[in-house]
């Protein structure tokens, strides 16, 4: 297969074109039924091109293309596409997952007000994410990065008439913006250097040759990590993700599996050469990842909203990815990003299927859905097993790679991180099976359940495909179809290396199994009573139920610290900055009042000034050579 060339631009281009077409044609209520007819073929085309790009990368190496963008003086920027192994895999995952989710959306969003608008936003979202993935320089990445952010704002607030949805959208936007400041600062740091280099290849060379100062590299790594913390919902900026559940469920699936939160991890992987040169920042990353994965998992335990449980699990799994990248497990992190995309999309779509049937998000108003919705129940079980990390489903392979990477890492404190991750495997299995048992097993707990029916095939079909992917994606570790290489040989930083600790694998499997058993005992067999536990330790329950009070803490921070700081800034602005401006105005006023005296309105006074100026000018020019006496000395 030949090289892909400029067709690379079509990968994000097709969905963006679909966005334009839908916006132009299919927004009107009487026409919006045709909206998916633009997006689905566009994403199909993107997927096909992505697969071609992946194969071409495996055979011929990196695929690139560029158009001149900005050429000013010594500055030259290209609008470029760079598809290497990392971005090729991401392209296939993003376009494939998006495609399935959009097909599912046809059924899920049927009859909603704003059906056309939904697909327009979704096109822009997919296109922006694909554009981010193919970007070959940081500036272009930033543009798409913000586009992804604005799309998630639009989609989380899709039901904008609901105050909760509008607030959640705003929260997601502001909180991620907080992290984006880091990205912007990184760009400013970079442009303050002598080289106007934003391309990943150029940057990597600068770092490799040690031309960039060590401090600059560390600053860049830290700032970009800040951006990733916001986008990928890491502690302490994770608070937006659970609220983002206010959007339609397929949106959540897309945000959690393929687009928004994946962008953060992808960016870190993309500029991993910066992090590799700044070990201190790697440690920070591992620490944040470990904290996030543990805290988020504990938050998921006490949550009753089915989608919010999944949201916390996403935060936790993203923590695993960050931990993997932080401890040097580059392949493990990206591999988990891939497998997670499949099983998390699956889990969200099954949750959507359930919500579609019973019209509530509260697990305690479900129950006994297993018999009424067998496909959803079974696919959800597969997703839960994969997330828990049970052999041989995909989550097992990727999670154990992360645990092993943490185990064998040289980062200080890696044993603690590994232990925390192992403990979290238990918690993960527990809350996932709590969700599954409460939703699908036992007796029906509300009238809605009795009327619940299996979703139509346009929704169930993607579930089955995702379930199959979630089950077998672990096989990518051995071979990625079409490339002839295993995942580890394909996506790697430096030499491929694989070290698997059977001790860690055994412990994690045991932890996952224990989590499932405890969930079974508590929520199915009723051998132990969760209510009794909560009554016994009300403080623990309150802590988990309120998600460790992070929202409260941020609120306090915003209302107390920020306002106090703003008051100081406002005083400074009013008295110092404004004072300077006022001072300049006053000074010019003072001078003009003095000058005003010369404007007498007397024409003859003006004429006198002309004459005086003329005489003065003549004396100044000729006075040196000729004295007045010379002029008057008559004679030839």
């Amino acid at each position: 297969m030949a090289e892909v060339g400029y067709a690379l631009f079509l990968i994000p281009g097709l969905p963006l074109l679909a966005f334009l077409l839908i916006s132009g044609i299919a927004l009107r209520p009487d026409r919006e039924r045709i909206a998916p007819a633009f997006l689905i073929p566009a994403l199909g085309g993107s997927l096909w091109l992505s697969v071609r790009a992946l194969v071409a990368v495996a055979r011929h190496g990196d695929q690139t293309a560029w158009w001149p963008w900005v050429y000013v003086g010594s500055i030259s920027l290209d609008f470029g596409a760079l598809v290497d192994e990392l971005s090729a895999v991401m392209l296939v995952v993003v376009s494939g997952v998006s495609l399935l989710i959009q097909i599912y959306s046809i059924g899920y969003m049927k009859g909603e007000i704003g059906y056309g608008r939904y697909f327009a936003y979704m096109s822009l979202f997919s296109g922006s994410m694909l554009g981010l993935v193919i970007s070959d320089n940081l500036l272009q990445t930033y543009v798409f990065w913000e586009l992804v952010g604005i799309c998630s704002y639009l989609l989380i607030g899709f039901w904008y008439r609901r105050p909760a949805a509008a607030a959640a959208a705003k929260k997601a936007f502001v909180v991620t913006r907080f992290g984006d400041l880091g990205f912007m600062a990184a760009l400013l740091v970079l442009s303050s250097q002598r080289w106007w280099h934003f391309q990943f290849g150029q940057l990597e060379r600068l770092v490799a040759q040690g031309i960039l100062a060590e401090g600059v590299v560390a600053a860049l790594a830290l700032l970009i990590f800040c951006a990733a913390v916001g986008k990928s919902a890491q502690f302490p900026l994770h608070i937006w993700l659970p609220d983002a559940m206010e959007g339609p469920t397929p949106v959540s699936a897309l945000i959690h599996a393929a687009t928004m939160v994946a962008a953060g991890v992808y960016l870190v992987a993309r500029v991993y050469f910066l992090f590799a040169a700044a070990p201190a920042i790697l440690f920070v990353m591992a620490l944040i990842g470990a904290l996030t994965l543990f805290l988020a998992a504990t938050m998921g335990v006490a949550e009753n909203d089915i989608k919010r449980v999944l949201a916390y699990s996403t935060i936790s799994q993203l923590g695993y990815m960050m931990l993997a990248l932080g401890v040097g497990g580059y392949t493990a992190g990206v591999f988990h990003l891939t497998t997670h995309a499949f099983f998390k999309a699956l889990l969200f779509l099954t949750a959507g299927s359930v919500i579609h049937a019973v019209h509530t998000n509260n697990m305690w108003q479900m129950g006994g859905l297993g018999r009424r919705m067998p496909i959803t129940a079974v696919t959800c079980l597969i997703g839960a097993l994969a997330l828990a990390g049970i052999v041989p489903l995909s989550g097992f392979w990727s999670k154990d790679e992360i645990l092993s990477a943490a185990w064998f890492s040289e980062v200080p404190g890696h044993e603690v991180f590994c232990g925390l991750a192992l403990l979290t495997v238990f918690i993960t299995a527990f809350y996932m099976f709590r969700l599954w048992f409460v939703t699908f097993m036992g007796e029906a707990r509300s009238a809605e359940v009795h009327g619940a029916r299996e979703s139509p095939w346009v929704m169930a079909g993607p579930l089955v495909i995702f379930a199959a992917l979630a089950a077998v994606a672990g096989g990518l570790k051995r071979i990625v179809p079409g490339t002839g290489h295993g995942f580890g040989e394909l996506v790697r930083f430096g030499e491929p290396h694989e070290a698997i600790s059977y001790l860690v694998i055994g412990l994690s499997t045991a932890a996952a199994a224990a989590g499932i058993v405890v969930a079974w005992a508590a929520y199915r067999a009723r051998l132990v009573s969760p209510a009794a536990f909560n009554a016994r330790f009300p403080a623990v329950y309150a802590l988990l139920k309120n998600a460790w009070y992070f929202d409260r803490a941020w609120e306090l921070f915003a209302t107390q610290v920020v306002i106090a700081g703003s008051a100081v800034a406002a005083w400074f602005d009013r008295h110092v900055v404004n004072g300077m401006v006022d001072g300049v105005a006053w000074l010019s006023g003072w001078f003009s009042r003095r000058l005003q005296a010369t404007e007498t309105g007397q024409v003859q006074f003006y004429a006198m000034i002309f004459v005086a100026a003329l005489v003065a000018g003549l004396v100044a020019v000729f006075g040196r050579e000729t004295s007045l006496l010379d002029l008057l000395r008559l004679g030839p």
Partner: protein, 107 residues
């Protein structure tokens, strides 16, 4: 035959300077707008004398000096026509041609 010594250029220039100075003085000090205009005419004529004198003594082979003087006279006539029209209108508006009292542009 006793030839009359040729008149040197300086007397012309002295006359011209005096004429110009008187013109400037009139422009700067007279209150009557008509008198101010007359001052301007004096200055123009001082310039004319210079043109002709320098042409005559400067060895000009063509008639530049005279031509310039004629042009200045023409322009002066036009200027006088326009300026007098303005003065007339000023008089209609302000009922005076005293330039001291016409100071609407005072800052």
């Amino acid at each position: 035959m006793m030839s009359i010594a040729p008149i040197p250029i300086q007397p012309y220039l002295v006359v011209s300077v005096l004429l110009f100075a008187i013109g400037v003085l009139a422009v700067l000090t007279r209150r009557n707008a008509i008198a101010v205009l007359m001052g301007v005419e004096l200055m123009l004529n001082a310039a004319n004398i210079n043109f002709v004198a320098f042409w005559r003594y400067g060895g000009g082979e063509q008639m530049e000096g005279q031509v310039f003087a004629v042009i200045v006279i023409t322009v002066a006539a036009a200027e006088a026509a326009v300026a007098l029209a303005i003065v007339l209108n000023v008089y209609r508006r302000f009922k005076t041609v005293n330039v001291d009292q016409i100071n609407l542009m005072k800052g």
